[in-house]
Every structure is written in C-alpha cells, then in structure tokens.
Amino acid sequence: LPAWGRTIKIGVIGPMNFVQGKSHWNGAVMAAEEINAKGGVQVGNEKMKIELVKADSNEFLNVTDATNAMERLMTQDKVDFVVGGFRTEAVLPMQDIAMDYKKIFIGCGAATKSLCDRVAENYNRYKYWFRGTPFNDNYLVRTSFSHLGAGAAVIKNELKVPVKCAIVAEKAAWTEGMVKVAEATIPKMGFELVGVWRPSAVATDVTAELSAIQKSGANLIFTLFSSSVGITFARQAGELKIPALQAGINVEAQKEGFWEATKGMGNYVYTSSTYIRGVEYSELTKPFVEGYFKRFGEVPTYTADTHTAIAEALVPSIEAVGSLDADKIVAYLENREYLVPSGKVKYEKDAQGRPTHDLTWGPGYLTGLAGQWQDGKFVGVWPYKWVAAPGAPEVTYKGMVPLKIPPWMKK
C-alpha cells in the first residue's frame, strides 16, 4: 500500500432519513470506495485518501437543522468540499454558509435556477458553488416538452385523433413556473389544452381530479409530480382506467418500488428520468448504473450523482491542479468539459457572458432520459429518434425501445 498523505474530507449533506439523502450518501460512498481502491487521489506528489463525512440536513422537516449541519461540516469536521442538498429553501442558506468558508459546494438535488444566478451576480462570493445535478428548471421544462411531444406523436399516429392535453401539477414551487410555461406552450405545440389541476403534493385521493379530467376528454396528461401524489395519481388513474397517457415528470415513478407501490396500476406511466438500466448515454453509464445496482440493489436516481460530483468533477480537477486550493480548482473546473455517466458536462455562461456554473443542456451534452413502465419493467423510451432542432441529427441512446400507449385508450 502506498503511504497515505492527508485525507481529503468531503461532506455529504442531505436528508439522510429520506431516499434523496440516502442516494446522496450511496453515490458518494461508491465514488469514494472506487477512488480509494485505485489508490486515492494524486495531489502533486502525494496520494490522498477520500474520507466522507455524513451530515443529516433533515431539511424536509427543519431548515434550521440543515444550516446547522452545514456549519458543523465547515467548522467542526473541517471538510474540504461539500456535495448534496435538496430542498431549495434549505440549499439557499446552506450555500451561503459554504461560501462564507470558501468551500466548493456541488449541489446535487435542487433544480432552482436562482442558485446559479447568484454566481453570475456575485462571482467572487458564489463562485464556489457548482450545479452537479439536475439541470436547471428551465431545461427541465424543455425536456419535459420533448417527452410530451413524443407521447403526443404516438397518440396521433395510433389513434388518429387530435391531442387533448391536461396539465396536472402538484402544488409546489418548482411546478409554478413550469405550469405557466406549459399553459403557453401546449397550444403552440398544436394540442388542445383542456385544463389545469393542482392537487396537493401529498394528496391521497385524486379521484375528483381524475373524474374531471376524464370528463374533459383529455387523452394526454402532462404530469408534474415529485411527491407521493405521483403514486396516488398513477394508481387511481390505472384503477379507473382513465383513457389518457401520463407523460412528464413523476419522480416516484422513477423508482424501482413504483410498480409495487401502485400494485401494477402504474402501467404505461411515462416519465423523465436520469438513469435506467440498459440505457447508456456514454461509456461511463453502464459501469456506474450496474455498479450501483450491484452495490445497493437499486437503480441510481439523480441525487446519486454525488458520485459524478466526486469522481468526475472534483477528483480529476484536484489531480489536474495538483492542490486542494479551492480558487485554483474553481478556475480549472469551470472551464472544463468532461464526460459523466449521464452525458457530458459543460458549465454555462449567462447572456452577458458571466459564468453561472450551471449545466449545459442539449444533444451532445446533458439531455436526461424518459422511461415508461411497460408490464412491470421500467424501460427507456426517450430520446428515441429525437430531433432536437430541425436539421439536427437524430438522437437515440443505446437500449431505447418505442413508447406505448395504454391499450384501454384504443377502445
């Protein structure tokens, strides 16, 4: 064994009692194990081992707790880097604390764009913040519309009827802007918008909404769910055999347990996702997804991209600059373009050319995926022969299958 120099301490902060936090931790553990097994991080002429510090932010329940956890990471545990974070209301003050101590904080959960706007507006203070995952809410909308378009195309092809679209979005901040955009965009896409429903994020009964949707004649439902209502909605829609295809975002449907949770009623639910077994964005995807699956018995969700943040973003940069100096790493990292399991990372600049440390979206970079539950299996269905812009090359990742519509829609 080589003689270890000092260790690199990386704080992993997240709601550890919840899936999101668990994935944060799992991803990080996997990265640390891989790197340490390879002999650690080469910093200058020293080999350094990675040491993870777990911090439970408890941010869903208590924002104060989250900031305390961050402060503790900074001052008690004296970590060198931090990855994680989920609920925006908590990530904002956590970000502030990390910036106070000039520590690099790679966010792995909160989608809000304003986190990166801060970098553009006050670069010197906020430059230590990087977005790790997911891409920001604007892009989230764009992909979702692509998914919606793909779904609509299938409906049009198979049923030969005009597409009538309903929007069902849980009541939460992240859906706020998306609903507005969707209301404007859907008619432009050539579909009829039949209504918008906003159930509570933890509603346990949406039959009222479902009946109304069915009455409106919708055959495509644009869903925006991140919480338990995703299960309720999919399950009750399946039970009632509502003749419409659910497309959009349903975080619960990205998980393995979805089939069981809906008792199979979630068949044909179609949602954006980050990783699906059998689908490959790049040569890094398969080792990561399969490795993760082997190690933890489940497919990684996007908060497990703490793995990416450590293994692809931090470590190579540290090795390249040969030091743990945050400023140097920032300067290097923000100009880097690198491959990750979910595509390729390039940090964006805003309209005035100021760096935002936000992720670039698009073919060739990060695009995300969409999958569909087809008879008990979650399979990748998008991008499938996707043309991002007129004239652009068709994109189909390895392992994709065609999208299906529920058979009961066909009468």
């Binding site: 550890m16 104060t64 503790r72 209301e89 003050p93």
Partner: protein, 346 residues
Amino acid sequence: MVAAGLYLKRFYTVVRKEVLVLPSRIIVALFFIVLLGMPLISRNPYLIRVIVLTSIFAILAASWDLLSGFTGQMNFGHALFFGVGAYTSALLNIHLHLPPWGSVPLGAAAAVLTGLIVGIPCLRLKHTYLALTTMAFPIILMGIVFALPDVTGGELGISGLQRISNSLIGNYYIYIVIMLVLCTIMWKITDSHTGIIFHAIREDELAVKASGINTTRYKLLAFCLSGFFAGISGGLYAHYMRIAGPSTLEVSMSFSVVIWAVFGGMATIYGPVAAVFILFPLLEFVRFWPEYRTMIFAVVVLLILLYMPEGLIPWVRDKIEKGCPRCKIRNVATRKTCRVCTAGLD
C-alpha cells in the same frame, strides 16, 4: 473615584443580599456571565451558531409562555408570529433595503398586528378550542404564501437578506444581548400587575371581568406582546439565516415551541428559556447518531416529563429550594428556618 467605589459597594451588597441567597438566582447570574463571556473561551463558529440560534428560539419559547403559560390561551400556532416577523423583515430588507435594525422592529410590529387579527376572533374561544383553532392560522397563511409566489417566493422563500453584523463575535453579542434583554423584559412583565391579571384570566375569565378588569384588552395585550417578541425572534432568525421561508410557518415549528415551553415549565418564562438551551443543543449533540436523532429527542422529552410533569425547571427548583410554609418566601433547601420570617421549614 469615590463614587465608583460606593457604587461598587452597593452592587456588591445587592449581589450578596439578593443574588447569593438563592441557588436559582446564582444559576441565572452564572448563565448571564457564561453567555456573555463565551467568546473568551471559545470562538468556534459552529458553537457560536448553535448558541445564537438557541437564543433566537429562547425568545420565541418565552414569548409563547407569556401568552399561553400565563393567560392560559394555548397557542398551537405560534409559528404564525414567527413567520410573520420573518417574512416582514425579509420583504422590507429585500425590497426597501431597510437595514436590520429597521426591518426587525417593523417585522415585530407586523407580528403585533397579526396578534390583533388573530386575537380578536380568538377572544371568545377558550382552552382547547383556542388551542386547536390557533393551529389553523399558520396553515392558512402558508396557503397564502404559496398562492402568492411572486411576493413571497413561494416554497423558496425570500433569500439573500442582509446580516445584522458581519463579524462573528459582533453578531454573537448582538443576538445574545437582545435575547437576555428581551427575556428579562418578559419576565418583568409577568412579575408585574399585568402578570397577576394574566394568571387570573387563565383561572376564570368571568370572575376577572367582574373584578372590573377589561379582559378583552388584557387578552389582546397578551396576544400583541407575545406577537411582538415572537416577531422579533422571527426577524432575527430571518436575518441570521438570511432567508425567510415557509418552514418558519410549519406545524412542526409550532409544536417545537410548545414542547420547549412545557418541557421547561410553563408560566415561568425562565423555564422555556432554559428548556431551549437544553433541548436545542441536545438535538445538535446527538448528530453523531443521525438515524436516531428525533427518536432520542422524543424519548428524552417523554422520560423527563414522566418524572417531572410540571416541567424540568420547576422540578429542579423544588429540589434546591423550598417555600416557607408561613410567608411563602423561597429558601435554600438545606436551611432549617426561613430566611425572612424564621419559621421552621420542616
């Protein structure tokens, strides 16, 4: 020089006659000294942060006690005042660029107003009705917050607030001193005429009315005072966290306040303060065992209450001091005779 000496002597006499005679007073004095001298011992930012947040919540818990412990108007929605204070100071700071010393008092003023608005419908409610009804207010406000994301930032809250002071120690002293001063004021209020009337209202409101006291005014006063102090703590919190979000309005926040206050001992002011200083750091302390944190917290609260149902502090106080059966003055538990009326203590 001589005058200074005299003052010093007076001070010493006061300390000897009034403070050193009772262990509880000594403890309070030590508490002041330790808090004020803290930075001399350690300047660990994490520790400082925990103490500052503890102080903020101590104000909150004491303000709850002022309303609920004393007048018996169980408020299960105390987060309302906290949230209003936080949001108002945040809005003023962000949009009108008011510095904290302007925005926090105005936030408190807004909380006072809220106290009035909530207090008026609550005037006719009693006991459990009141408790359960007040629980509804923060939830309603939360609905409003979510309904107006353009103003309130919705789920994200309002972030990027100015700090009260940019220096660690400066911040510490500002918060600590504010806390000590406010809590002393609250304690003084409850020790005055007003305090007696609050107590009486808790016991039997009709009888208070028939004693010629305007109970409406006093109940609203309780709501406003409590709102004022809670609003200040909300504003301080917002400026410390640099964000005011819907988490300040959550049910769990209201519950925490009640837990703190009851755990420490209701209708004492110092009880809730002490309880926050025990329970909040406890929650930090058990971080080394993250999965069981809440569990440990709950179990500790439960066990302590099982043995000290009146609250921790009154229990401790009863152990170290006892009341004189004749003149009801408190004495050190080890004394055989009362220090004032010299009646036998056993």
